[in-house]
Symmetry: C2
Subunit: 414 residues, 2 copies
């Protein structure tokens, strides 16, 4: 049923022009894992010298490919052997017991053979139906074709092949000038558009030509992940397969330290790319018609600010009010109250965009329902909640909860 | 807009016959707080000697009446002075600053005058729109009328007056024989049916003629609350006004100790009444068409079992699958994985009713999609998740997430 949904009204106008990253080739094919008439397997081959950092779902029921990636990243492996990434859509190979582990082994072996990369440097991911045995032979038998097609410019085709019921392919990139030279970053993502029995797995692959040590790369990725992908939510449900890999081919500018001028510029650019991809996932949230930025300030600390922001972002009552264009600030108060963070009703203030809605525990004297209602009609909204207690802040992003979400997840049968 | 919704398909056939509790009188009037053409204020007067126990929302933004009740219960007060409970619907008096506190003071003073109970023993609650000043004069000017109408048999009228957009009044009761004599329990509740700008506040008032000390009464209430009202969820959003009061008039059988034969019988009966009322709140969940019992067993401890049960009960993907009559057990696996509880994929088993769906990390060999799909058609469902790790267990209850929920919360404007 993939592709039967209209493109999200919050989608970007077009897939962006992404910089080519020296040392990365892409290919995509239609292997027929589950879908027909579209590509569903992508391969990326990475040059010798590539360092890889990763972040994965913390689910206790994570999938066989996730467990395999975690093991391989922890072991380190030999960067000089290069690396490969193979992703299929249509089947998540999650909750498939020992058969799932066998499928990962078969696929990794075939990728290693086709790309001349050791198995220890082959990373896979699967997204789609849960609990069904992955027909891995359809993938392994397509590998000759895939390897033959590898080309530096095929990143958009790769982004399309990993879609499940995303309504648009997601890409973001940046070329940044540093004192030591240019650094190029290009990334793709999938997630949050889905239909019937699948889960909204998020997969993200980001490539850069920076020459950077793996621990430094991992440090940049982990810290930025907290304020980008871990700051978005569509429905609060966590996938068994979420995977984020950052691959640095080392063919370009050297970055030895994140605090250097080069490092600072690289981190800022990587932040932009990660935030852009994270936003695109929210913009393709199931049934989404509104994009909401929630800024929490004045919390006792960042942890409290995050609790409040995510409590608001995950509240079905806030999200349905958003869908109804209802300036229902009482639901924001409710979500602050239930968040578990320290809050004092009489210090709380709320803004919708620039409009002061509530302050000191009550509706603002200057606020009018008409102003609030007019503001809510925009497709992109900002709400700021100041707790008035300290200097902790956090920003989260979410979409509204509409009939579309129910239609996508309830009206179809698996 | 209250009353415009059809009665929930999960509603009981009729309001139950409840035992009269010696020492409690009820009255209800139409004071026009917000609604017209219906009652919206209820008064209960409790005889001298009444002990009162309470449990309240833990929201950091709880309402003025909740804060007032907490203060009074903590202070104890003089049971020999009797007590009174005044509840209005239509306005929650939450996030109304010092004006909200003044309204509580005005109402308590007027109730004290009309019922000849000291202010320290007057407990109030308000439910409805948030952030609007409560027109308390409409309530205080109705108090003469209310006090004049007080009668022992008017509990159903009281249950009706506290409804906001509940689709049916909720009551449950029990007469239990103990070695020392009969104990009567009767309770009413409101919650989880709502429309547009209100929140689904839950209010529960339970009355008994037991003669029991306040600390013992509080102990019974607090421990049973964990496995009844704190084990239900409609949408995971916590009200600013949730209030549960248990009032023992002391006119009947004496209970000195919860471990005695009388105490055990009383606790069992109180548990039945509280679970019944909690289930009725779920059965009137916004847009609900299915009632789901989630039993988690085999967890490392009860806390882990609760985490898993509530993660399943609050998952929008589980709840939309329920609405779609989709036996989507993969979403159960996802919810177990994200719960934060200890879980081992290869020890997990899932039953839908008596049907074994999954075991040892994979779909059960005996399971058929047809059997699962047929099971899902029932309006009342049970799902059991065994984690295979220990002896911790917990049972939670929830309803499905349907277009009705979106319609109620998004399609109307405040």
């Amino acid at each position: 049923m993939a592709g039967s949904l209209p493109i999200s009204p919050l989608a970007p106008a077009a897939f962006p022009d992404l910089p080519e990253i020296d040392g990365v080739d892409f290919a995509a094919v239609a292997a027929g894992v589950r879908y027909s008439g579209r590509t569903d397997v992508m391969l990326a081959r990475l040059a010798p010298g590539t360092r890889i950092a990763g972040v994965f779902t913390r689910s206790a029921t994570r999938s066989a490919p996730v467990l395999d990636c975690e093991t391989k990243l922890a072991a380190g492996g030999d960067p000089d052997a290069g690396a490969a990434i193979l992703v299929n859509s249509g089947n998540s190979n999650a909750f498939t017991g020992s058969a799932g582990e066998a499928s990962v082994r078969e696929i990794c072996a075939a990728v290693a053979l086709a790309t001349r990369v050791p198995v220890s440097r082959v990373f896979t991911a699967s997204t789609g139906v849960i609990g069904e045995r992955l027909p891995h032979d359809r993938i392994t038998s397509a590998l000759g074709d895939l390897a033959g097609k590898l080309a530096p410019g095929a990143i958009e085709a790769a982004a399309e092949a990993i879609m499940t019921t995303d309504t648009f392919p997601k890409g973001a990139g940046k070329v940044v000038d540093t004192p030591a030279g240019k650094v190029r970053i290009a990334g793709i993502a999938k997630g949050s558009g889905m239909i019937a029995p699948d889960m909204a797995t998020m997969l993200v692959y980001i490539f850069t030509d920076a020459a950077i040590a793996q621990p430094v790369l991992q440090q940049a990725l982990s810290s930025l992940n907290k304020v980008t992908f871990n700051a978005i939510t569509v429905d609060g449900d966590t996938s068994t397969s979420d995977t984020l890999l950052l691959c640095a081919t080392g063919t370009g500018t050297g970055i030895t330290d994140l605090q250097s001028a080069e490092g600072t510029a690289f981190v800022a650019a990587l932040h932009d790319v990660m935030r852009d991809l994270a936003h695109q996932v929210v913009r393709d949230g199931e049934g989404a018609s509104k994009f909401l930025e929630i800024r929490v300030t004045g919390a006792r600390d960042e942890s409290d600010a995050r609790k409040v922001a995510m409590s608001i972002a995950n509240s079905p009552l806030v999200k349905t009010a958003l869908a109804g264009e209802d300036p229902n600030w009482g639901r924001i108060v409710m979500a602050v109250g239930k968040s578990g963070a320290h809050a004092d009703r009489d210090r709380l203030s709320i803004h919708f965009g620039d409009i002061l809605v509530a302050e000191k525990g009550w509706i603002a004297e200057s606020y009018t329902e008409d102003a609030g209602a007019a503001y809510m009609k925009a497709p992109e909204l900002e709400m700021t909640v100041d707790l008035g207690l300290g200097s902790g802040s956090f920003t989260a992003w979410t979409c509204d909860l509409t009939h579309g979400y129910i239609t996508i997840n309830a009206d179809y049968r698996s």
